[in-house]
């Protein structure tokens, strides 16, 4: 693709194209190949300064019986976009845990295409998004199951939290299935902080910003429990929440 995308391109529909124009054309995707039987993981904290534009593309091939786990905290930039195109071969597995946090003026995106190319592969995507101010979070997650990819087991769970009436969360799971014996689950919810819980915390002495931070950390907690980079993820989330609240 050489010309700047438009809003007609589904994958760019909710993006900040003016910001994108500042860095276009973006570099070719990083290519990650996990050889048959191998196991790899990748941690990414994208916390660029608020005036930056960051677009990270990955093409991932997960070989027969191999596994790949991606853990992502995406909170930085005027536009902070991570896109992954993942292909799974026989019996491969793909795990994605992602926290997306956008404050005033930010567009934070995660775009995934997971291609179950052969049978018996599993994919699991867990995404938590928090948007405040006029921030925008988008998760566009496509799962494409080929005709031969029987016994595919795929799950997408997306939960969005709106801190202000001016914030936006776009959650779009998309399934394209050509095999007839597969399990493809997807769930998406968007809500706001529980007023009862906030009052309960306040009644015990927590100021509003601390009460919200406590509930929001709980909202994304569990994504990175036990991860080798847990401390780094927690610090990035705390810093993002502090900016937001």
């Amino acid at each position: 693709m050489t010309s700047l995308p438009t809003k007609r391109d589904e994958a760019w529909r909710y993006s900040d194209l003016a910001a994108l124009g500042r860095v276009w054309p973006v570099p070719v995707p990083d290519k990650i190949i996990v050889a048959a039987g191998d196991s790899r993981r990748l941690s990414l904290v994208q916390d660029a300064a608020a005036d930056q534009v960051v677009v990270r593309d990955y093409t991932v091939e997960i070989g027969v019986g191999a596994s790949f786990a991606m853990q992502l905290v995406n909170t930085g930039g005027q536009l902070g976009r991570v896109a992954m195109d993942v292909t799974l071969y026989e019996g491969a597995s793909f795990d994605l845990d992602a926290a997306l946090i956008a404050g005033e003026g930010q567009t934070v995106e995660l775009i995934t295409t997971v291609r179950h190319f052969e049978a018996n592969a599993t994919s699991r995507q867990t995404v938590r998004g928090i948007a405040g101010g006029k921030g925008t979070i988008s998760y566009l997650g496509k799962v494409a199951v080929s005709r031969d990819a029987q016994k595919t087991d795929s799950v997408q769970s997306v939960k969005g939290m709106l801190l202000d009436r001016t914030a936006t969360v776009n959650a779009k799971p998309e399934l394209e299935i050509f095999a007839d014996d597969v399990k493809c689950a997807h769930g998406a919810t968007v809500g706001e902080l529980d007023a009862q819980a906030l009052f309960y915390l306040a009644s015990r002495g927590l100021p509003p910003a601390e009460a919200k931070a406590l509930l929001l950390r709980a909202f994304v907690s569990g994504l990175f429990d036990g991860s080798a980079d847990e401390a780094q993820f927690t610090a990035a989330i705390d810093a993002a929440l502090e900016r937001l609240l």
């Binding site: 529980d194 007023a195 009862q196 819980a197 009052f199 309960y200 915390l201 306040a202 009644s203 015990r204 002495g205 927590l206 100021p207 509003p208 601390e210 009460a211 406590l214 509930l215 950390r217 709980a218 909202f219 907690s221 569990g222």
Partner: protein, 247 residues
């Protein structure tokens, strides 16, 4: 300690409290009894500042300060504690983490040093032991999966850890079996029966008052205190019902 004067409050535009006046001194335990819908829980929520409960007239003074001018968290730091009739479940947040943050936020607001992790754990364990709550439960998320009785015990553990000046306990006895009632009652006495503390017990029934002896009993009906007296009033209510007294 607490002066409520001619308090009027409404919820969703509907008047619930209609000129309630009440005065509590340090060292006193007051019980507020009354039929369903009298405004008992509303009183607790108005005093603790729950959003949606709007004061339309009257004043509340707590230790000389205008309580109604304070945000809920400031009221807590000033020494007010609300024991919830239905304690809220908060998934993903452990009791210890929540209470330590809350306690230290209060201490910070009062210009005190935060409590260290070790000191806090000691204090939390001691309170859990005193209330007959398995200290392991403090590691679990706030009220999640707790039985009705465990939630009420946990409320009292929270009260013991926070050590407020004034506790407003909203039907802390509901959902308790006899043993839990006894230990919760003993907990209230241990934590709050002191010369510089005060308690406002909101209850339907006499039974909690067998364990926590009130100095004064008030009957709340139609949004106002319609009758006040000593402990004997609670017995009279239990025997005769609210209908005649509240009429």
């Amino acid at each position: 300690m607490l002066q409520i004067d001619n308090l009027h409050a409404e919820v969703d535009g509907k008047a619930i409290l209609k000129g309630l006046s009440l005065s509590l001194n340090a060292g006193e335990i007051h019980a507020i009894m009354g039929p369903n819908g009298a405004g008992k829980s509303t009183l607790g929520y108005v005093l603790s500042g729950r959003p949606g409960y709007e004061v339309t007239e009257g004043s509340v003074t707590f230790e000389g300060a205008d309580l109604l001018a304070l945000a809920p968290y400031e009221r807590a730091a000033a020494g007010l504690f609300l024991g919830f009739q239905y304690p809220v479940e908060i998934p993903g947040v452990s009791n210890l983490q929540f209470l330590r943050e809350a306690l230290n936020a209060q201490r910070r607001a009062r210009g005190e040093e935060p409590l260290s992790g070790g000191d806090f754990i000691k204090r939390a364990r001691a309170q859990a032991d005193a209330l007959g709550l398995d200290p392991e439960m403090l590691k679990r998320p706030v009220n999640v999966g707790f039985s009705g009785g465990e939630k009420k015990r946990a409320e009292m553990v929270q009260m013991g850890i926070i050590d407020p000046k004034l506790a407003i306990l909203d039907e802390t006895d509901s959902g308790l079996d006899i043993d839990a009632l006894r230990s919760v009652g003993a907990g209230i006495n241990t934590i709050m029966r002191k010369p510089d503390r005060a308690v406002l017990l909101i209850t339907h029934y006499q039974r909690l008052l067998d364990y926590v002896k009130p100095d004064f009993v008030h009957v709340l009906a139609g949004g106002r205190i319609v009758r006040s007296g000593g402990p004997e009033l609670a017995h009279q209510l239990e025997a005769e019902g609210y209908a005649d007294i509240a009429a």
